[in-house]
Structures are given as C-alpha cells and as structure tokens.
C-alpha cells in the first residue's frame, strides 16, 4: 500500500463535516425522541410479556413465546419494512414516525422480555415466600419485593438494549424518518462525498452512546448494591 497516494480528503473532508454538522444534528431530535418513547413502551411491553411467558396458563404463555420468537428471529429492518411498506396493502397507512415507534417498541419488548424473565428468575424463591408470609398478594410481592431486586439484576442488560436501540434508529433512514443518517445521506448525495458524512454520523452516535454508558455506570454504582 502506498500511503502517500491516499487522498485523505476523500476519506474525511473536515470542511464539509463542519459545514454540515448542524444539518445532520437536526436528525438527533428524532433519534432522542424515538429512543425515549420506544424504550418506555418497549420496557412495559417486555415486562408484561415476561410475566406472561412465566405464567402457568398456556393461553398466556404460548402467545408470549411466539412473540419473542418472531421478534428475535427476524431482522429489525425487515420488521420495519413490513410495518411501513406492508401494512398499506391491508389498508393501514402508518406515518414513518408511527411505523418507527411501533417497530422499535415491539423489538425492545421482545428482547427486554427475556432480560426481565432472566432477572425475575434470578431472585430467590425465598423472597416470594417471605413476601407471601407477611400476606402480600402476588402483584404486591412482585411490585414491592421482587421487581426492585430484579431491576438491579437487569440493569446492565437493559442498558445494552438501550444502546442498541439508539444505534438501531439509524435503520429508520430506510423508512424515510429524517434522523441523523437520513440527513447525512442527503448531503452525501449532493456533495458526492458519502464517506465523510458516514464518519460524521458515526462520531455523533459514538458521543451519544458514550454519554449513556457513563449514565449506566453511575446508575450501577448507585443501585448495584443493597447498602447506602
């Protein structure tokens, strides 16, 4: 390889990156908004599905298993395509934003269901029994005793889910949600320099994820152990 022959400007054009940073960052608000909405909906969904999956009733258990299997067994991009391009065929027209929120929420739900299930199973049976022995109901035992402990167990995995979600929002460019990658591609096409724009987007994602990882560390310090 001849290092002197490489045209570094073709790899990363600082001037272009600087000039288009603001335009790309317009997409960040979609990244953040969609991440927050889908994380909240997805976690609620995941918890409900996890409890269904652990239920003794087949009517609850089997749909939960099927759902988890479908979500984990098919590519997210394909799921998004089906929602956005497929549903209009049966008369359901979703806006890109709505398709994005539904698709990603279902995805987070499927993965976090397994995280919740694992975390709930990690709590010793004695904790349930102790809760029952002071005459708590199932839902109160879950809410007051088991869930607070399970959340601590689940926290590292849920943080991973969150980071994946942030990065997966880039797939939404494929269904015309104007998030960061979508914005970057517009300029990349106009300036015939996609690579600079992709690297710029990568840097922005890396910064967002680094901040979130830092928050995760703080949370784990705070809630990782059962003392003050």
């Amino acid at each position: 390889m001849n290092w002197n022959a490489i045209q570094w400007n073709n790899l990363f054009d600082f001037q272009l990156a600087q000039d288009s940073a603001w335009f790309v960052l317009q997409g960040l608000k979609y990244t953040i908004l969609i991440t927050i909405i889908t994380m909240v909906i997805g976690l609620l969904l995941g918890l409900i599905v996890a409890l269904m999956r652990m239920s003794s009733s087949k009517i609850l258990r089997y749909p939960a298993r099927a759902y988890i299997s479908i979500i984990r067994g098919t590519p997210l991009l394909v799921q998004l395509f089906i929602l956005y391009f497929g549903l209009p065929v049966i008369g359901l027209n979703l806006t890109p934003f709505l398709a994005a929120v539904i698709g990603l929420s279902l995805n987070v739900g499927g993965y976090s269901a397994e995280t919740f299930r694992g975390a709930l199973l990690a709590i010793p049976k004695g904790q349930w029994e102790a809760a029952y022995s002071i005459n708590m109901s199932y839902s109160k035992a879950l809410r007051r005793i088991v869930m607070p402990q399970a959340l601590r167990v689940a926290l590292p995995s849920l943080a991973n889910t969150l980071l994946s979600l942030v990065k997966d929002t880039s797939l939404l460019s494929m269904i015309t949600v104007p998030e960061m990658l979508y914005q970057a591609k517009i300029i990349g096409g106009r300036e015939f320099d996609y690579l600079t724009m992709y690297i710029l987007v990568a840097i922005f994602y890396w910064i967002v994820c680094t901040i979130l990882a830092w928050v995760q560390d703080r949370l784990e310090d705070r809630y990782g152990k059962f003392t003050k």
Binding site: G126, Q127, E129, S133
Partner: protein, 250 residues
Amino acid sequence: MDMIQVTNLVKRFDDQEVLHGMDVTVKRGEVLAIIGPSGSGKSTFLRCLNLLELPTMGSIQIDNVILSFQEHKRIADREIRKLRGKTGMVFQSFHLFPHMTAKQNVMEGPIQVKGISTSRAVSLAEHLLIQVGLKDKQDAYPDQLSGGQQQRVAIARALAMEPEVLLLDEPTSALDPELVGEVLATIRQLAKGNQTMLIVTHELSFAREVADRILFIDQGQIVEQGRPQDIFEYPQKDRTKQFLERFNQL
C-alpha cells in the same frame, strides 16, 4: 375453640406422599416444638399451615378461619390469604428483603398489607426492634447484619403483622454456633409472652426447655407427642427412643 386444629392433613408431591394424614391440635398460647429426623416432613407440615405448600387433602382451622382441601379443588387466593393472615413465618435462612433497611423490613407488611399509617408503622417497628434488641441496627441493611441479627429482624418482621400463630422453621439451623443463643433468647422471651408458636427445630435441649409440648414426627406421621419431660425421659415408642438416644447421651 383451640387455636389450631389440623385434621387428616395429607400432602403429596407428584406421586410421593410426604404427610400421611396428620391430626394436630394446638391451644391458644401454647408452644409446640416439632422434632424429627431430616426429611420426616416436619418443615412441610409447617409450610402447609400458612399454605406456602397447599395441602392435598384434609382441613386446617386457625383461630376463626377454616379451610378444607381436596385433590384438584382450587382454593381462591382470597381464602388462602385469610388463613395466612393468622400466621407469621420465620424461615431457616431469614429471607429479609435485601433492598430495605431493618426498620423498613419490619414496616413493610403493616404499611403495604394492613394499610396502617407510616408514623404508626415506624413506632411499631421501633418498638419491635427494641424487643429483639436491635434498635441500634434499625437503619442497617441485611447484608450489614450478622446471621443472628438478621434472624431477629425477621422475627420482628413476622411479629409486626400481629399473627395469632408464629411459625418458626428451623430458625437457628443456618446460624454459626455462637449466634444461636441470641435468637433462642428472643424466642424464649416470646414464649413467656403468651405467643402461640410452632417451632420446627434440631435444638433439642432448647425444645425441651421452651416448649409446652413436643411433637415427634417421622416419615410423615406423628410418632409420639407429649410434655417435654415425658418425651425426653420416658419415650414410649422405639423410634422415639432411637432418635433421642444420641441426644440423651450428651
């Protein structure tokens, strides 16, 4: 009316029968020690009384609540909790809630289940922690307490629900020998205070000292029962003699 009347209690796990029709009566304020070899069904019997294990057949009456059991008959949660509300349970390995302080552990039931005010729950919890000698540890988390201290908090947690009957399932078996004494002292004090108690224990000398009556169980059946001095000094059945032999040699 007796505090507890258990009639023909049968418990089966899958196809293995571990309790073969037990009849037990306990008077108000009585302290009953249940002894027997490992695997005899004594813990299962205790766990049937607060329905952590659902009996297969038979009936249980505690105070003014009666429940009867048949195979394949579902018992409503409401019924289970009515009976369970008469009991408190102390476990072999404490099972304190690790995310709560000692005081919060004791307050949890009264506030969440009985719905009493926080201020009343605080004074109740402090009172009980004084009783078990742990007022100075009220803000400690379980992992900052010794086994003996954890078990005493667990006793306070059970008492906070003001149970008619306190069930203790091998309360000292998981403790280092030097920590057993403090827990036994707490139980002894409760026995004097007229609390009805059923204690499953391997501490035979303690059982003899604190119990009003001893129940010797083997292979899911009551072999013999009676006053401590009768059981320990004049056991009638060979199986009882054999079980107590090693103890009496000490």
